[in-house]
Amino acid sequence: MKINPKYCLKNVGGKNIVVADSTMRMDGIVTLNDTAEFIWRKIEHGAETDEIVASLAAECEVDADEIKGEVVSFIEKLKGAGIIE
């Protein structure tokens, strides 16, 4: 999976702002928290779901099983919004 090239993530003053190409409709400003940013960057680097779960678990010092559900759910949300292809 990869990020739809019509979207990119920009850090502005410490806030992660999702930038969309003008052809994509976005109401308001979409920001990502630190965890979401971590996941986004992993996807940018070509990681698949299992790798993302594993590295996030390592980063947060928790078991992969504890976070897998939420990570998968978030990735599905991004897919649903057309942000991930």
């Binding site: 003053g13 410490g14 702002i17 930038v19 190409d21 400003i29």
Partner: protein
């Protein structure tokens, strides 16, 4: 086509209607000035404005269209518009930003009441332009200054940006750069394309890291102006920066 100098940028556009022509008059450049930017009316934008604001008129549509195009174009020249009321005191600019009708002009009007109209001058009552020049940020008047057309053709070093909300009690606090981002982005242009958007965000990042930002909760009373002024003005003996024509 007439050439104007707005926020230090030479721009040419031709108004058909008085609103734009009259409000732009004090920004007219001398004849030898070559324009950096040319702005033309955008018929699609005009058509959308007609549909959205059928009670308005062609002069207003033209004014809005050209103003919007200008505010997008200046992003390439380190300029960014903030929907705010800008007041200058002792050669420094203070911007009060909020959505429409939330008390920006009321607040800067109170600064004038507190300090006197000679000392507190309104630079632009609706959409001042912030621009980085020689490493410093300035707030400028532009012809695109809202329905009351209050603006002056000058740039003042920007001392602070304050996001205003109405409330029961008056209080002001300093905002971190991060906490200023969303309120700022909600009151500025959204460029039409991704490159423009990214450029705008880079400017925002640099600006909000360089200029102090505040959050003011206020009643519309003179005490609100007092606490805002005292919080934002800084030390008395700071160096005076130059004012730009």
């Amino acid at each position: 086509m007439p050439v104007y100098v707005i926020a230090g940028i030479a721009v040419e556009y031709e108004g058909k209607y008085d609103t734009l022509i009259e409000r732009s008059k004090k920004y007219l450049a001398d004849e030898s000035t070559a324009p950096l930017i040319t702005i033309k009316t955008n018929p699609n934008v005009i058509e959308n404005l007609r549909k959205r604001y059928p009670e308005s008129n062609e002069a207003e549509y033209e004014y809005t269209d050209i103003g919007a195009s200008f505010n997008r174009a200046i992003i390439d020249y380190d300029g960014i518009m903030l929907h705010s009321s800008a007041v200058a005191v002792d050669g420094k600019a203070y911007l009060f930003s909020a959505p429409s009708g939330m008390g920006k002009s009321t607040h800067t009007g109170l600064w004038q009441k507190l300090l006197g109209e000679d000392k507190a001058v309104i630079i632009n009552d609706d959409k001042p332009v912030i621009r980085k020049i020689d490493g410093e940020y300035y707030a400028f008047g532009t012809p695109f200054s809202g329905k009351h057309d209050i603006s002056i053709n000058k740039g003042f070093p920007l001392k602070g940006i304050c996001f205003v909300r109405r409330g029961e009690e008056n209080s002001i606090e300093r905002l971190s750069t991060k906490d200023a981002v969303t309120p700022f982005l909600n009151q500025t242009v959204k460029p039409a394309n991704m490159d423009g958007y990214i450029k705008m965000l880079s400017l925002t990042d640099d600006l909000l890291s360089s200029v102090p930002c505040y959050s003011l909760i206020c009643r519309a009373d003179i005490e609100a102006a007092e606490i805002a002024y005292n919080a934002m003005k800084g030390e008395e003996n700071e160096n005076k920066s130059k004012i730009l024509p």
